[in-house]
């Protein structure tokens, strides 16, 4: 009995091993190592790394750039998430209906998702370029003065937000489209027979039934708002004056430009904690309000 149990144990572990090795090597060990590093100072040639307790976290609290960037990230999340979700629902409802050339419209909405963010950033870089860019060329015809969209701290974050919405809305649309196609058409017919307007049907029936999708998309969107920073490398490098920098980009800068691994680790720990809190919050508070079929 005991022998057989231990034998099946070995089988079990052998089956788990390949995945476990990769997960430990590339996910759990770096996470734990990062957490450990955040309690140590950055070592140099003359001054080796030593345990400093919460000192890194204290300097983070006093770091004005960190707070500015954290605020940027909040603005970025609030600016991208609701609009891209609303656009996604709108596009999904539209391409779910009877429409000529439906598959072409669906495909063109999805195209921004397929493009790599770097390519997207290059396209938009041309749009935003002062004087010769698309936006300036068009707005000049209406008598607007040329504007350095990416060079102005007041407009740069808005420009980044616009790109992200453009890229993400089509991706989220696919999820909504899939969800819409599982809704039986009789529900809509029953509602119209009762005299419901399209808006009433959307508000009382369609949107509540899409809630599981919305929860899924919302979590993805929140994670993306902290994760998606590729465009910054091409467009702004976080500037001017950190006006367009986001947390992950700041971590990259601290770690690989300023070579301060300890402080980068501290920032990473904070970012992970914030993401975990948000994810737990969404599941706990929204799950109760979601109707799963």
């Amino acid at each position: 009995m005991n022998r057989r149990l231990s034998k099946s144990h070995i089988y079990g572990w052998l089956l788990l091993m390949p995945a476990a090795i990769f997960l430990i090597a590339f996910t759990y060990y770096p996470t734990v190592a990062t957490l450990a590093k955040s309690f140590f100072s950055q070592g140099t040639a003359i001054k080796p790394s030593e345990f400093v307790g919460l000192e890194n976290f204290e300097s983070l609290l006093e770091d004005d750039i960190f707070w500015k960037i954290a605020w940027n990230n909040v603005v970025y999340a609030v600016g991208t998430i609701p609009i891209s979700i609303a656009l996604a629902i709108l596009m999904a409802v539209w391409v779910n209906g009877r429409l000529p050339l439906k598959s072409i419209v669906r495909m063109s909405y999805f195209t921004p998702t397929i493009l790599p963010m770097i390519a997207v950033a290059n396209i938009w870089l041309f749009f935003y370029t002062p004087d010769i860019g698309l936006i300036d060329q068009v707005s000049r015809n209406f008598g607007f003065a040329s504007h350095n969209w990416l060079g102005d701290p007041d407009t740069v974050l808005g420009c980044i937000i616009a790109i992200t919405i453009w890229k993400e809305a089509g991706f989220f649309m696919i999820f909504y489209l899939a969800a819409l196609q599982t809704l039986p058409p009789e529900l809509e017919e029953a509602a119209y027979l009762e005299g419901a307007s399209r808006w009433y049907y959307f508000r009382r029936v369609m949107f509540p039934l899409l809630m599981p999708t919305t929860l899924f998309v919302l979590i993805n969107a929140v994670i993306n708002s902290f994760k998606l920073v590729d465009q910054l490398f091409i467009l702004t490098k976080g500037g001017p004056d950190n006006a367009s920098s986001l947390l992950l980009y700041y971590i990259y800068e601290v770690a690989f430009s300023f070579l301060d691994q300890a402080y980068a680790s501290t920032l990473t720990v904070v970012l992970l904690a914030v993401l975990a809190l948000i994810a737990i919050g969404q599941f706990v508070f929204l799950d109760k309000r979601v109707h799963y079929r």
């Binding site: 039986p184 009789e186 529900l187 017919e189 029953a190 509602a191 119209y192 027979l193 009762e194 005299g195 419901a196 009433y200 009382r204 029936v205 509540p208 039934l209 109707h291 079929r293």
Partner: protein
């Protein structure tokens, strides 16, 4: 004035004609069944009456008003769907009150009507349940309640019982019919189940390939089928339709070629006889072979063979047919139906003979 009147209603999808020039009237307070095999256009007809499908051609009147192109909600009718179309995220009460809330009926009246309707269909104790927590029969009742609470005089039902088991279907049949009579509703009911149609309808409209095959009371359809199709669609088991050959001695069953079953006929005809009108005897009638028996409790449906043609015979009680046996089949001339071989239309000019 009739409650609903269709004149020349046609539905086309591109080149495909789903409903072809259908006209009928439904009188107020009656139960009309649209009956037909699947794909015959009966549901499409119903959906055109509801306004869920555009009418390609023809005119629809509800009451006195022309409703050919009116929006569904303007037609003042309720509908029960095959899938029930209950809103899965709303509980029973919210589902039933859905329409009243849209029309902003005062809350006191809403709750008064809710009380009355849930009492009527027996849902009072389930008001807080979600549809997923209900059985098929209970969901059916919610769908009915939602249709009734609107207090529209017209109710359309699209195969509402087809998702229920046999026992429940029978009970609901009686219940729906009783409800219709009690509330004096005008009901148009779509089904492919002829037993449902026979037991519930004041009038049956039999549809085939988008056209009306026959229209009439259940007895009329059963006793005088207008076409061989009506004859073979209605009744369980359906009417036997036998091919015949014309000879100098009269018309005989094809491949039997011996006993005249019909008097002279100028054109080729088919002989129709219902299984319950055929008697089995040892010596009298047409020689046949009993092939098998399907025992149903109160009766046995026997498959017999005359020459090479099969004929069903209904016999009371239990009849054992374990291996083919020779016998004779006989019937009275009163029970014979004659149909034209080509058109399938009823032909009363040919006289049937008793065998």
């Amino acid at each position: 004035m009739s409650a609903i009147e269709l004149s020349g209603i046609t539905k086309r999808w591109g080149g495909l004609v789903a409903v072809d020039n259908i006209s009928f009237r439904v009188e107020e307070g009656t139960f009309t069944v649209l009956l037909g095999p699947s794909g015959c256009g009966k549901s499409t007809t119903l959906r055109m009456i509801a306004g869920l499908e555009e009418i390609s051609e023809g005119k629809l009147k509800i009451g006195d008003a022309d409703m050919t192109h009116a929006a569904p909600s303007e037609r003042k009718l309720s509908m029960v769907f095959q899938s029930y179309a209950l809103f899965p995220h709303l509980n029973v009460e919210e589902n039933i009150l859905f329409g009243l809330k849209i029309r902003k009926i005062p809350p006191e009246e809403q709750s008064a009507r809710l009380l009355k309707v849930t009492d009527l269909v027996g849902l009072s104790s389930l008001l807080n349940r979600k549809p997923s927590q209900l059985s098929g029969g209970q969901r059916q009742r919610v769908a009915l309640a939602r249709a009734i609470i609107a207090e529209n005089s017209i109710c359309l039902m699209d195969e509402p019982l087809s998702n229920l088991d046999a026992k429940l279907r029978h009970d609901m049949r009686i219940e729906i019919r009783a409800l219709q009579q009690r509330l004096k509703m005008t009901v148009i009911y779509v089904t492919h189940d002829q037993a449902e149609a026979m037991s519930m309808a004041d009038k049956i409209i039999l549809i085939r390939d988008g056209k009306i095959a026959q229209e009439g009371t259940p007895d009329a359809l059963y006793d005088r089928p207008a076409t061989a199709f009506s004859a073979s669609f209605i009744g369980t088991p359906p009417m036997n339709i036998l091919n015949t050959v014309i000879s100098d001695n009269g018309v005989m069953i094809e491949s039997e070629n011996h006993t005249p079953v019909l008097a002279k006929s100028a054109s080729p005809v088919m002989l129709g006889i219902r299984p319950e009108h055929v008697k089995i005897s040892d010596s009298q009638g047409i020689p046949a072979e009993l092939v098998s028996g399907d025992y149903l409790g109160a009766e046995t449906v026997i498959t017999a063979r005359i020459g090479s043609q099969e004929i069903l015979v209904r016999a009371a009680g239990r009849v054992r047919v374990t291996k083919p046996v020779a016998a004779h089949l006989s019937w009275s001339d009163q029970n014979i139906h004659v149909f034209d071989s080509k058109s399938g239309k009823r032909n009363d000019s040919v006289q049937g003979l008793a065998v």
